[in-house]
């Protein structure tokens, strides 16, 4: 088999290296075209995500895929950096290990957040882009299609994707759903306009939230965030009124002390008429005084509370890791058996053709020398030659078929060399 993967990921490489090797979607096609100019006899799939950049190369013939050093030189040249800068942080896996690695990546077992769902679509996208750029080999097709199938199998047979593990996803995708039936008709108040607020808002929109009011000390940042999510900008002076009508509050300001104290909430509570409110206090230090949590129909969750939930979910996902790994090992073995069968099938056919040709040549030569033989005798001689060839080939072919794939792989190579068969 002629498959290898080289690249960098969060396991081995620094953020700096990952940043240097990261490709945007627009950069991938030009890179692939340049690759084919330099290595026309092999093929490549480039997978580039936040946490990894990997180059899967394959070829029909051996010794055609570029060596690690060649590829690093080429990549460094494409990215405009020195090969020595990245050399030590690049890994390589070949054949069986490369297949297992791809299966693990597609199934998100190799991800920073085990079980994250995005990676499979990124693998599909990388494969699709490679197919669009050049007609890929059967090997690339087989290995990527198998990887996608294995990822789906793991998703169906384990619960590795079952629980959410990021703070915003747990807050909105899990907790908010236990309080609200739907978010479409809820008033959502966002305090702060930083990354955490934006990330959480993204989940709110995904879950159907539409009615946002953003309040921030810096009105420009609030406007920017409001424009992104089609929300309104509120005035900090209207905080009491906004809190009184909100169903869900996401608070992630950079304030150094609580922005909503007990006194303010007393006024808010009076106006709310005990309407339930879900408050996500994602700020450190906290934006809401802890005592507010004790009020009737107030569900106040802090970053600590959410992180505990995330950690529990992370552990739950980890508990499914061994089962998923077992599936990957099993699938990788099956994949190789299949490759082996296909490969030995073509070698056997080649060997049979070669011996048939030799037999036919000798038979023709003999028949030319023997003038006066009957048809019956001619037939007897032909059958005798056939039996001889079959008896010679039978033991090695039987060994190839009955031995384990590992042993038969070695036999296959030996047979190719002994009988001088091509690939």
């Amino acid at each position: 088999m002629n498959l290898q993967v080289i690249g960098c990921s969060h396991h081995l490489s620094s953020v700096a290296t990952r940043e240097q090797l990261a490709f945007t979607q627009q950069q991938i096609k030009p890179f692939l075209n340049n690759y084919y100019s330099k290595f026309p006899n092999s093929e490549v799939v480039l997978l580039s995500t936040c946490n990894r950049t990997e180059f899967y190369t394959a070829a029909d013939k051996p010794n055609v895929v570029p060596r690690k050093s060649e590829l690093i030189e080429f990549i460094a040249e494409q990215r405009g950096i020195a090969a020595t800068e990245i050399n030590s942080e690049i890994f390589i896996h070949q054949d069986r290990q490369a297949v297992k690695h791809l299966f693990s990546v597609a199934s998100s077992l190799d991800s920073m957040v085990v079980g994250e769902a995005q990676i499979l679509s990124q693998v599909k996208q990388a494969y699709q882009l490679a197919v669009e750029t050049k007609q890929t080999t059967a090997l690339i097709h087989r290995v990527f299609q198998s990887a996608i199938r294995v990822a789906r199998r793991i998703s169906n047979e384990t619960e590795i994707h079952a629980n959410r593990v990021s703070v915003p996803s747990v807050a909105i995708g899990v907790l908010a759903k236990q309080i609200f039936e739907r978010l479409e008709n809820k008033r959502i108040l966002i305090l702060g306009a930083g990354d955490m607020a934006e990330e959480t808002l993204r989940y709110v929109v995904h879950e159907g939230g539409r009615d946002f009011t953003i309040i921030n000390r810096s009105i420009e940042n609030a406007k920017e965030l409001a424009a992104k999510f089609n929300g309104r900008v509120g005035d900090w002076k209207e905080l009491e009124r906004e809190l009184a009508i909100a169903d869900l509050v996401i608070s992630a300001t950079g304030a150094t002390k609580a922005v909503v104290g007990s006194d303010l909430f007393d006024l808010v509570e009076e106006k709310r008429k005990q309407k339930p409110i879900f408050i996500l206090d994602l700020a450190v230090p906290r934006d809401f005084e802890q005592s507010i949590s004790d009020r009737l129909n107030v569900y106040l969750y802090t970053l600590d509370d959410l992180q505990k939930e995330c950690e529990r979910n992370r552990q739950s996902r980890q508990s499914h890791y061994p089962r998923a790994q077992k599936i990957i090992n099993h699938e990788a073995d099956q994949f190789f058996d299949e490759i082996q069968r296909r490969s030995s099938g073509s070698t056997i056919a080649q060997l049979k053709r070669q011996t048939d040709n030799a037999k036919q040549l000798e038979l023709d030569r003999l028949m030319n020398r023997l003038d006066c033989i009957s048809e019956k005798q001619r037939s007897e001689i032909e059958q005798s030659f056939n039996r001889l060839v079959n008896k010679i080939l039978h033991p090695p072919l039987k060994s190839l078929q009955t031995e384990s794939p590992q042993v038969s792989g070695g036999l296959l190579e030996a047979m190719k060399k002994l009988f001088q068969l091509g690939d």
């Binding site: 236990q178 609200f180 339930p276 009737l296 129909n297």
Partner: protein, 312 residues
């Protein structure tokens, strides 16, 4: 279709018991096909329950002119409504284990009917009028809705308490959202108030028109000293007060308060039913020659039929 005659209370009670066991198992582990088995058993139970009520009800109707015949029939009919509600909730809220709270109530009603219902037969002479039919049907539906409201209220309190204390959600112990539970509790309170109002008004009408010698006339008086009358009056007043209060005073229909109100309404109802049952309201001893639903044999192996008492 003779086999339909063999359906007994044990058949559907067993089906519901299996559903309950399946609901309990949902708390501990997940199996993808279980929801089909669970809803399948509930549907099978409901089918058997329906057939039982229809066939046996027909016999009792032919014999006494009453549809349910006794408190047993009344309990079974209420349980039937709850079983229907269970299937509806299973479809609307497939992931929640609300059946864990609803099915015991349903089984409890069947058990109550089987255990004590046969002692109290409805009085055929009293129950045949239109007013009586309205009275019985409204109270039956009202009871079922109050019972449902009770389940929603209890689940609300459990879910709200869990969220308030930030207890982790057990892996498979999922409950509906607070919003859904609050809305369902609110609706059950309003609908049950309307139904119990109809029940009470029709009860007053019966009292107003029904003279002790079983003749109908106008200008009768209401026996306010009768425990059934005053307890019904208190229950209705409570529900009306709660509904009106909820309408005009927003906090009372928010969050846990509505849950506590529907739970309290259920407790009132239980008290009311205990009084009604205790004083033998609308019931009489079995009359000779009259078929009774309570006389149906309960064993699954036996053919279920209505037996007749000795004739004079």
């Amino acid at each position: 279709m003779d086999w339909l005659q063999n359906i007994s209370i044990t058949c559907f009670a067993a089906s519901y018991a299996v559903v309950f066991v399946l609901e309990v198992s949902r708390v501990f582990f997940d199996v993808s096909f279980r929801k089909y088995v669970r809803v399948g058993f509930a549907a099978a139970g409901l089918f058997a329950h329906t057939v039982f009520l229809v066939l046996q009800g027909k016999l009792v109707l032919a014999s006494t002119g009453l549809w349910l015949g006794s408190w047993l029939g009344w309990c079974l009919a209420t349980a039937w409504i709850l079983a229907l509600a269970y299937i509806w909730i299973s479809i609307r809220q497939p992931k929640s284990v609300i059946g864990l709270f609803l099915i015991p109530l349903l089984l409890g009603l069947i058990g109550l009917g089987v255990g004590f219902g046969h002692e109290n037969q409805f009085n055929p002479m009293e129950a045949k009028s239109t007013w009586n039919m309205i009275h019985g049907s409204a109270l039956l539906l009202g009871t079922a809705i109050v019972a449902l409201g009770f389940v929603f209220g209890v689940v609300y309190v459990v879910q709200s308490r869990r969220l308030k204390h930030k207890s982790p959600q057990a892996k498979y112990f999922r409950l509906p959202s607070l919003e859904w539970l609050q809305k369902s509790s609110e609706y059950s309170l309003i609908i049950s108030t309307v139904l119990l109002a109809i029940g009470l008004v029709s009860g007053i009408a019966i009292n107003w028109t029904h003279q002790p010698d079983n003749t109908l006339s106008s200008g009768g008086t209401i026996a306010w000293s009768n425990p059934v009358i005053w307890s019904s009056g208190i229950l209705f007043s409570w529900l009306l007060l709660v509904s009106v209060f909820s309408f005009f005073y927003q906090p009372s229909r928010q969050g846990r308060k509505i849950a506590y109100l529907v739970i309290a309404s259920f407790l009132f109802l239980v008290l009311e039913l205990a009084i009604v049952w205790g004083v033998g309201h609308a019931t009489t001893n079995s009359e000779p020659g009259v078929a009774q639903l309570s006389q149906i044999q309960l064993g699954p192996e036996e053919s279920l039929r209505v037996t007749e008492g000795p004739t004079i």
